[in-house]
Amino acid sequence: MNSQSIAIDSPIVERARSWTRGKHAGDRIYRAVLTLAAVSILLIIIGLIYELTAGSSASISAFGIRFFTDSEWNPSANHFGALPFILGTLYSSLWALVLALPISIFTAIFLSEMAPRWLERPMSFMIELLAAIPSVVYGLWGLFILQPWLVKNVETPISKSPLASLPIFGDLANGYDMLAASMILAIMILPYITAVSRDILHAIPKSVREASYALGATKWETIKGVVLPYARAGIIGGVMLGFGRALGETMAVTMMIGNAPIFKLDLFKSGYTLASVIANELAEASGLYRSALIEIGLCLFIITLIVNAGAKLLIYYTAKDINATT
């Protein structure tokens, strides 16, 4: 957001002062309406947590902690264990991170440290566009283009090579698998990590870099030795933000991962994620089955909450540190 041209005057900083002062009847209504809006946001969050907990209580009391360690998901027998989904979610998101991380960090470095302005703007715009494409459209592209390409050029050669004996590869090219899901996730979280990292890098004062150049460091040495350490916590925050995104992504993963409630390290095997099983099964569930799915939703909520809160804190403190030194 470009703020220079708006805030010529001092912005409203001390805002609380007049809030309770208005004696006009209209002001009382005004305050009531605003408070109502604010309280309703609070109610939505509390309601969400309450409903998820209440909805999953049947499942919690039926399976307890075993729900998270049991790997059998059998709706016909009313037996529910979420382990394959939890592992599948973490595994696919981790691989997405491994694939997206180098590219997004280097892209951020390129955009903020190296690219000329005429190149930086359109490229940044394009990468932001990547973030605006809906999940289901990524899924469609993944099904029609990425998956056949992966099978032909990645999975089949690897499955026929000695690499196939590694635990993360198999001897059978599949396509509806962890690798495909991780790849599409990587493309989806790339813009988030890039944007946050670039913003953090941009925020680092020029003087820091100039000091390094003055000491004779090359551009790369400056980036590696001075700029990146400065931005480290913030970049880690951005990475966690991307990780949080990946954990909650639903449609593209559902379309690519093969939806098999079995967890395997083999990237060529089908798997399942928390979000996907909800998407596939909630509309059709009732009774304990529904409760188990809601508990999966609760589980997903808590995991993303922890990851995102961590990310926000890291970004917040980095930004604060940078501001403090300038």
């Binding site: 309703s40 969400l48 605006a132 909650g248 639903t250 939703g297």
Partner: protein, 294 residues
């Protein structure tokens, strides 16, 4: 770090260092090209195949029986517009008023609220869908047999998803309105609500519209929360208490079906959806530029 002598006379080592720096520059540029390449791969594919799949009947026809040729996305397009309207009715007042509340107060509660909207922003949309399912679909089902999934339920899920974006942009833009404007209005004896309504909000209008448009762009492609709220409908429906079709649901169902004509419809749907998002995003930028002019 480098010694002074190496600055004066480039040694072999320093040449290597400069070369390495250049090499890493190329690596970084390559990464940026890969990132943009991924986007181009998606967009070019969709543009070529989606645009060629577009024709008038896609906008005028509904679905045909499975396995038969033809068919269109009319129901999904109208359904998506209706869902976005319902979401706006639910999400915008709360979001905008919440933003004004944040401007007006600086209490422990408002700081907590700011944190909560951050939390809300990170909730996966599928979880928000579960919430709408629990508070709308199931109670409706319990009260009136034969009803459950509805356009309204879908709108609730999407509306909640809009709130954080609208609220945060509103708050940010209101903060930028010069305090002198507000003081002037209050000094003239205008009540607070009048000041907000006639002075602050109009001054910030462009920015608020930007927030609204961005939030709409975000929810227009949401699919997961609609699976068990709006549900989809093979029939043309505009009633809020009935299941309703949506463009993203069409894309999902048609892309995963085995029929070629449906694959074409999915591609056409994707292009239409991207066009909607692009128009909203560009309009959001213009709205913000309008803000700057004032």
């Amino acid at each position: 770090m480098a010694e002074a002598s190496s600055l004066l006379k480039p040694s072999r080592r320093s040449r290597l260092r400069v070369m390495f720096s250049g090499f890493m520059g190329i690596v970084a540029a390559a990464a940026a090209i890969i990132a943009c390449g991924a986007l181009l791969a998606v967009l070019v594919y969709l543009a070529i195949n989606g645009l060629s799949a577009l024709n008038l009947s896609i906008f005028t026809e509904g679905p045909v029986p499975q396995g038969q040729p033809g068919g269109g996305l009319r129901n999904g397009i109208i359904g998506t517009l209706i869902l976005m309207s319902v979401a706006s009715v639910i999400g915008l007042p709360i979001g905008i008023l919440g933003g004004v509340y944040q401007l007006e107060t600086n209490t422990r509660f408002s700081r907590m609220l700011r944190f909560l909207t951050d939390v809300m922003n990170s909730i996966p949309s599928v979880v928000m869908g579960i919430f709408a399912y629990l508070i709308v679909v199931l109670p409706v089902a319990a009260m009136s047999p034969g009803h459950a999934f509805s356009a309204f339920a879908g709108g609730v899920a999407l509306g909640f998803l809009m709130i954080p974006t609208v609220m945060r942009t509103t708050e940010e833009i209101l903060k930028l309105v010069p305090v002198a404007l507000r003081d002037a209005s209050l000094a003239l004896g205008a009540p607070q609500w009048r000041t907000t309504w006639s002075v602050i909000l109009p001054a910030a209008r462009g920015g608020i519209i930007t927030g609204i448009l961005l939030a709409l762009a975000r929810i227009s492609g949401e699919t997961a929360p609609l699976l068990f709220t709006a549900f989809g409908n093979l029939d043309f429906n505009v009633r809020l208490d009935r299941p309703i079709d949506a463009l993203p649901l069409n894309i999902f169902n048609y892309a995963t079906s085995p029929y070629d004509n449906l694959h074409h419809l999915a591609l056409a749907g994707a292009i239409i959806l991207l066009a909607i998002i692009l128009v909203l995003s560009i309009a959001a930028r213009y709205a913000l530029k309008g803000q700057n002019v004032e």
